[in-house]
């Protein structure tokens, strides 16, 4: 089994379901009163990830990728199975825990503390976060004034500054410009080198190709394939008929 040498994350037959309020899929029944439904988002996924591995998660919308990441982050309870992790897991989502009405600097502080940094560590890494996010003066303005790319950059800067043992990125890089993509790729490589594990959800196959050594393919909450990036993407392309981008060079070969 891949990743069994020095595991950082063990996911054992995990099922995740959650209750939703306000609507039911079987709409003829109890539409107005008792509109509560149970969504089974992940149905029996198992894998082992090791230190220094970067893993991409692919699959159609609603295949359970984000839900699985939330469960690994401990943010959603599993209904069956178990997850074990070595160290802290940080999840960086499109709607990560930042408060739109607050300025960027307050969000840096809040986000850092939420990820388990001490106030001293937050102060120490503050400049690094602002530089990396490249938001300049906007750091003093409320985050609702940010463009989607700016807030994605700030979120990424905060989560990666906490240097978590397991960093999970949920489509957060999609809105960044080319320059930011390059910098975030360098940051991810650096984390992986320091034996972190990176899990990346993306619909951009070129991002997956350039950043991940291994890919998990989820379909309707089940694991369809797990293996080296090129093999899984080829299989994915064959079975779904979707393009998976041409194989690209590894990041270190990309000209600056």
């Amino acid at each position: 089994m891949p990743g069994a040498e020095r595991p950082s994350l063990v996911v054992d037959d995990v099922h995740v379901q959650y209750v939703t309020y306000g609507g039911r899929r079987n709409a003829r029944l109890r539409k107005h009163v008792g509109a509560v439904d149970v969504v089974k988002a992940v149905r029996g996924v198992s894998f082992v990830a090791s230190h220094g591995e970067s893993i991409g998660l692919i699959g159609h919308n609603g295949s359970g990728k984000s839900t699985l990441l939330r469960a690994i982050a401990g943010a959603l309870p599993v209904s069956q199975g178990a997850i074990w992790a070595d160290g802290d897991a940080a999840l960086l989502g499109v709607n990560a825990a930042l408060m739109r009405d607050l300025s960027g600097d307050r969000n840096i502080q809040l986000g850092g503390l939420a990820l388990g940094l001490t106030p001293a560590q937050v102060a120490e890494r503050y400049d690094e976060v602002v530089d990396f996010a490249g938001i300049g003066d906007f750091v003093h303005l409320p985050m609702r004034t940010y463009s989607s790319g700016m807030s994605a950059r700030l979120r990424f800067a905060i989560s990666s500054a906490a240097r978590p043992d397991i960093l999970m990125i949920d489509e957060a890089l999609a809105t960044g410009d080319a320059d930011f993509k390059q910098r975030s790729q360098a940051r991810i490589d650096e984390l992986v080198e320091h034996s972190a594990t990176v899990l990346l959800v993306s619909h951009s196959m070129s991002t997956i190709r350039s950043m991940c050594d291994r890919v998990l393919w989820l379909d309707h909450g089940r694991l369809v394939a797990d293996g080296p990036t090129a093999e899984v993407l080829e299989e994915y392309s064959e079975r779904t008929g979707l393009p998976t981008a041409r194989p690209t060079r590894r990041p270190q070969e990309v000209a600056p």
Partner: protein, 282 residues
């Protein structure tokens, strides 16, 4: 044990998403205390930030409330309701009642209203009710400052007993945090309970002696006795006794205040902790 569980055990990995025991949970909450404080101050700050006057509203809001109540009850309805310094009595009552009411209201939504935060980060969820009520306390502090300026204007002398306002409010805060633990979990389990909160608050307002003295208005001695030992009435009495020379309190009342606070926070915390694994997205 499954083969994967054996791998996890062999490499000493920690299980994710299981509720730690109570002592470990308390330690985790304590380790993340700075997060609760930062979240509380951010929440309190953002309440006023979306306007030109911004943080000046922290002081202007309580002044305007005090003015409204004084005009309505002091001028329009013109009654002293059997209380020596009715203006002082009323303003202290309204401010302190509002503190407990917002702890209850915001505390009940501490889980359901923070789903984004819960869905993206793992931290002991007890920090959310704690931060919510702390934000209410931070909102109360400027109002208390206003109070300390207003009360002398109603003819009250500056006294050493004013210092007792601090422990009285501290106990009320602890009590509010306990209630927030209870309500946050109850509403997370059964959403519909949130709809009942406004009715509970209205009952609490009329039975806590916010606008009148319980002993003056309630004739039945048993009912009066029950109402006077009701927690919010107890905290209002302590606040008034601290600032107003015409209101007396006793050691017994302080013990009741302490008892309510300790009982609420202990029962609330344990009840909340037992539901820790279930505060999911929904």
């Amino acid at each position: 044990m499954t083969p994967l569980a054996a791998i996890a055990a062999e490499h000493g990995l920690a299980r994710v998403g299981v509720r730690p025991d109570l002592a470990e949970y308390v330690r985790q909450v304590w380790r993340r205390r700075h997060f609760a404080v930062a979240l509380a101050s951010s929440k309190a700050y953002s309440r006023n930030q979306g306007s030109y006057l911004g943080q000046a509203w922290a002081v202007l809001t309580p002044i305007l409330w005090a003015a409204v109540y004084l005009v309505v009850f002091g001028v329009v309805l013109s009654t002293d309701r059997g209380v020596a310094n009715f203006a002082g009595f009323l303003v202290i009552g309204v401010f302190l009642y509002h503190f407990s009411a917002s702890s209850i209201q915001n505390g009940s939504k501490a889980i359901t209203g923070n789903r984004e935060l819960i869905g993206s980060l793992s931290f002991p969820r007890a920090l959310l009710p704690i931060a919510t009520v702390l934000a209410d306390l931070l909102t109360l502090l400027p109002a208390l400052l206003v109070l300390l300026f207003l009360v002398p204007l109603t003819g009250e002398p500056l006294q050493a007993s004013w210092l007792l306002l601090a422990p009285a409010v501290a106990l009320q805060w602890v009590f509010g945090t306990g209630l927030a633990f209870l309500l946050a979990r109850a509403v997370a389990d059964v959403r519909d309970l949130a709809r009942l909160v406004p009715f509970v608050l209205r009952v609490a307002m009329y039975t806590s002696g916010v606008f009148f003295s319980i002993s003056h208005y309630v004739d039945d001695p048993t009912i009066a006795n029950v109402l006077q030992h009701q927690p919010i009435a107890i905290y209002l009495e302590l606040g008034r006794a601290a600032l107003l020379s015409g209101v007396e309190t006793s050691v017994g009342t302080w013990l009741w205040a302490l008892g309510w606070a300790v009982a609420a926070v202990l029962v609330g915390f344990v009840y909340f902790w037992r539901g820790e694994e279930r505060y999911a997205r929904g």
